[in-house]
Symmetry: C2
Amino acid sequence: MKKIAVLLSGCGVYDGTEIQEAVSVLIALDELGAAAVCVAPDMPQHHVVDHLTGDDMGHARNVRVESARIARGAVLDLAEVKVAELDGLVIPGGFGAAKNLSNWAFAGPDCTVQPGVAALIQDMVAAGKPVAALCVAPVLLAKALSGMGITLTLGTPEGASPYDIEGFHAGVASLGAKPVACELGEIAVDAAHKVVTTPCYMMDAGPAAILAGVRKACAQLLAWTA
Amino acid sequence: MKKIAVLLSGCGVYDGTEIQEAVSVLIALDELGAAAVCVAPDMPQHHVVDHLTGDDMGHARNVRVESARIARGAVLDLAEVKVAELDGLVIPGGFGAAKNLSNWAFAGPDCTVQPGVAALIQDMVAAGKPVAALCVAPVLLAKALSGMGITLTLGTPEGASPYDIEGFHAGVASLGAKPVACELGEIAVDAAHKVVTTPCYMMDAGPAAILAGVRKACAQLLAWTA
């Protein structure tokens, strides 16, 4: 059974992992016969957002502890993860990728990716193991694999989206990545680096379309592990 | 488009809604062409559990605010919900059903169901509108519809489960419900009352099996709205 790390960044779209994307990954990997290994850094969240109002709640939560809500308990500390024991990596989206795993939300392409996160991404790719990144998470690949010319997508400027897809694509291009436009449900495939990305909630979407896109990305990821 | 209320009880299996079950409901309703209307009571959680360690974290969180993490923001206050505007109701599981929506976790069949929750369940059934309850949530139906002889399931004592299914079935039977044994993925159908239940994480399970069972329950629910 293939062991696929699922890198979480908290629990909730505005300050952590996008929950529906993360659960879709767990469903898709299970349907495809792979074992999900949830991992998260043991660190404070950047902040805690009231998901009803958007307000900063002004207290502290821990990324790994909150991620455990999605995983029903078992979340490895990122510091303990060994690339040699993994067959692949999936990074769901949510602002946690851009606020906790990196500070892209505040610094854009000048951001810093958390050292443990950058090392995991770099070591997986160096070992020829596949990586999938969903929604906004491809910015982590663009930064951690800066200059490697990774083909990836944040969505399409042609479709309905609450975000500035063109701006995201310009940002990752400034780091040497090659952004391509993908509609909801389409995947961008970089076969040379075994990297697959898909827009998910970067575009206007609903839960069924999220699962469909995630399934496609996970199927491509697992095809590379065969 | 049918409007189906999804009654949430927080965000996380040990102190709120079971996240994977709730997301599976959102996916299944979307796949089936129905609109999910997430609702939750605006009240403090019974407690907040560290999902890594099981410890009480000793601070307060609000059921509706945390539920909004699953829903990506929009969660109606249960006090504002109008049965006349709904076509059906789904209640996912998680300890939130037994700690926040009721106190079954502490009092069993002697529990109190939150008045707004009991009224919603009673009014839906009285109006001939269908109700689905997943995992441990059928205990809410047993109590709120006490003496009505509702057929329901909490799972099967014959299968692998972390819980005392026989004890749960004895508890709901003491309230006049008619418990039936269901394996993971099977549904218990009470056609007279338009109530459907399925065990989900009351049994040992993984995310793909959860979605499959939830899909079956939601399909039955929607068939009753046709």
